[in-house]
Symmetry: C2
Subunit: 466 residues, 2 copies
């Protein structure tokens, strides 16, 4: 039986980065993929396809330039789905190929098939060429799949989950989306930007509960302005999709939504069933997810798990990092001591949301005395040149020494702008440091400086401008 | 005679920020403006109007999406100049107004008219309401004006300098630009993006001599691809602009360019003539600029100078900073010790260029052992989603400890992306620190991580990918 120091199950962002890092540091590594393409949800169903659709939507709608010229580009639905499909295929096959090449270049042995535990060290691979391999350590990076409640008649034509929605061959005229998390909010805003009438049904009282409340309020306000109808505290009772009739979604309130397509995008479960974790005494929770400690180790000492299979936040960026951090712990690599304490969340709604550190709700809960500094995109020359109509950056400052402990952005390229804030938070910079920085002019990074001055005036009691 | 602790001459970015900062720290401040609008070149002739035209050009050409959909939006020249003029007016009047309000809010006394030295402490103001005021310290922030060589028949209709070019009431069909600096390169690429045939005539052997050579090579290559004809080592002999004939520019080589419009954009001189510096024994150089020390103090101890009037780099961002730093020195404010050591350069060509720290030419000259890490936009998922066709990020690393001592970017939103690099350079972070960071995925900030891995493989001798 072939022996490895590390066996990685799954080639998504978590698995790939882990395998490559371990191999780079000279360890023998095997990786197992059961799908047709490398890359997991990042490449095949989720991250990249949805960002490609998002780019298509932004291009055809001219969303960001509407404020600038008050004109609407023609929405050519027919044309744009072809463009999207073309682009999507190009982006995903290229990326899957890069992952494959990257694994090979590092000398990672690749196995194709479905992995399951024979023992805590032996993995059986079922597929075209069955095999059993031995690993000192096993890293589970199998990802997740969408939850299918029994009352939803998924047909992958008009009634979709978050994996099948991007395999549509036409854009819907109207769409009912169920969920209040990242995936449902992203699709709601992307389709609305394409000109699709969107209904978003959420059974909680707010969207994106882990995000700063002021940010989600701005999101809800901008969603509403772009024509999205949002239902809060509302459950879906049933859905019917009869031939030649619209899809009918019945809400708990009795209201019936007749729509062209339906997307159920709440809840994903861990891909753990095929693994037969019970054979090694490893249990999963009701979401079929695995519990891990800070070094991503499961209850079985030589078995680690990273990525969507361990649940929140289930973002490609954090999954990659989890893969690298797990490997740092497994092999005690030299970078173990320089791991970052903070990482950004990026949510690709339109407008984008991104954040690092604590929310205002968290500092209140932790009873940290704090103050905020906030500025809107429209306060900046750069924002006015762009014709920005909304969005803001908010700094959360520890009152005692004015250290920056949280940054929250909603608006154009928020997911890029946040990285500057990550450095500030990670390196415990304070308000005065930020005020002293020099930014190119005119840029959106000026949001930081303006927010810092706003923080200063909130402290001193008189409002000033830099 | 009214007395002030500080008199600032000019309300451009350098003057405004200086006056406001001094007033914020409780000092009595007067500011003098001779123009109709507040804001100097930033607002009236330069920075903001040109960035507004740039945004218009990018919108109507769909430049960044060409790679994505292989389509060209219709270039509607007639429509777009109206849009541009409308937007420009909106952006500039709003900004001028903000500056005015900001000065008033801080209790800065505003004088309208032309300032000149009576003594090193007394400034005479000529204008509607003449006055003489006394200042403990005088800060000159009068900006610059375009150099007019005698052989160029400037008429502000077809033959322009860099101040009048944006007052055109139609876009030219072809344009000859003279110069190889920031202004001429920016206009060359902006007009080319609008579909204007552009000839760029430069009397040196390369463009933008202070920029890393690999970056300017990429710029020249992309300029050439977008149809700009560049002449190096070539002087303009003469220009004629006869009625109902094209403008004829004769090059030193004998070649004659017949064009619709002509822009002479090389060399700006300091606005010092009206000041009568000779009265206080202060001399200017042949460009009518003032020499200053590190704290922006001139040869006359109570007289300081900041912004374009002291020459290079003459960017709005650095001018603002110079204003603030001068005030920190003048009043020994508490932030004097936390001033940044590094600042970014932002050049709004299409594609954008931005840099911080040392260029490869500088480290060679200083004989610092170094290595580089480089990645192209097309290497990234985000770049492929965008359909990026060029551009790169380059890190310059000190070989001894792998500290990041220079960052150079050419490509989409380079002027935003650089700020992350400024933090790295300012805080002397090294390659391993950067490799450990987590970036949102997919974003262009991944350029940093990929470049870091490239640096690592250049060191270790085997090429890897993160």
């Amino acid at each position: 039986m072939k022996k490895y120091e590390l066996i990685v199950i799954g080639t998504g962002p978590a698995g790939e980065k882990a395998a490559v890092k371990a191999a780079y540091f000279g360890h023998s590594v095997a990786i197992i993929e059961k799908g047709d393409l490398f890359g997991g949800a990042e490449v095949v169903t989720g991250t990249l396809p949805s960002k490609t659709l998002r780019e298509t939507a932004l291009f055809f709608s001219g969303k960001y330039e509407k404020g600038l010229y008050s004109i609407d580009r023609n929405l050519q639905h027919r044309a744009s789905i072809d463009d999207f499909m073309y682009r999507r295929k190009l982006v995903t096959t290229k990326e899957a190929d890069e992952i494959h090449v990257n694994l090979m270049r590092h000398g990672v042995d690749i196995y194709y098939g479905t992995a399951s535990f024979a023992t805590a060290h032996v993995i059986d691979i079922a597929g075209k060429t069955p095999a059993s391999i031995y690993g000192d350590t096993i890293l589970i990076a199998t990802g997740s799949y969408p939850y299918h409640p029994p009352q939803i008649p998924f047909d992958n034509k008009r009634v979709h989950d978050s994996d099948t929605i991007l395999q549509i061959d036409r854009f819907p005229s109207s769409l009912c989306i169920v969920g209040g998390g990242v995936i449902s909010c992203e699709y709601a805003t992307i389709f609305a930007t394409m000109g699709v009438k969107v209904y978003l049904v959420n059974d909680k009282e707010s969207l994106l509960p882990f995000v700063d409340k002021e940010v989600t309020q701005e999101l809800v306000s901008q969603m509403t302005n772009s024509g999205i109808k949002i239902y809060f505290n509302t459950k879906i009772e049933s859905v019917t999709a009869e031939d030649k009739k619209p899809v009918q979604a019945t809400l708990a309130t009795g209201e019936i939504l007749a729509v062209d397509m339906f997307l159920y995008a709440t809840g994903r479960s861990g891909n753990t069933r095929d693994l037969h974790c019970e054979k090694i005494g490893l249990t999963t929770d009701k979401r079929e997810q695995l519990a891990v400690d800070k070094s991503y180790r499961t209850a079985v000492p030589n078995v680690y798990a990273v990525g969507d299979v361990i649940g929140f936040p289930a973002l490609a960026s954090t999954s990659m990092d989890q893969g690298r951090v797990a490997v740092a712990h497994i092999f005690q690599t030299e970078d173990l001591t320089t791991l970052p304490h903070y990482f950004p969340y990026g949510i690709y709604t339109i407008p984008e949301i991104s954040m690092v550190g604590l929310t205002e709700e968290q500092v209140k809960e932790q009873q940290i005395p704090y103050c905020v500094g906030k500025t809107r995109y429209t306060d900046l020359a750069r924002g006015r040149i762009m014709g920005a109509s909304g969005g803001f950056l908010k700094l959360i400052l520890k009152k005692s020494d004015l250290t920056i402990i949280g940054v929250h952005i909603i608006g154009h390229i928020a997911s890029e702008l946040i990285h500057y804030g990550v450095e500030l938070v990670e390196n415990q910079k304070n308000l005065y440091y930020l005020i002293g920085r020099i930014f190119n002019y005119p840029t959106l990074h000026d949001l930081y400086k303006y927010a810092a001055y706003d923080g200063l005036s909130n402290l001193s009691g008189h409002k000033i401008k830099p």
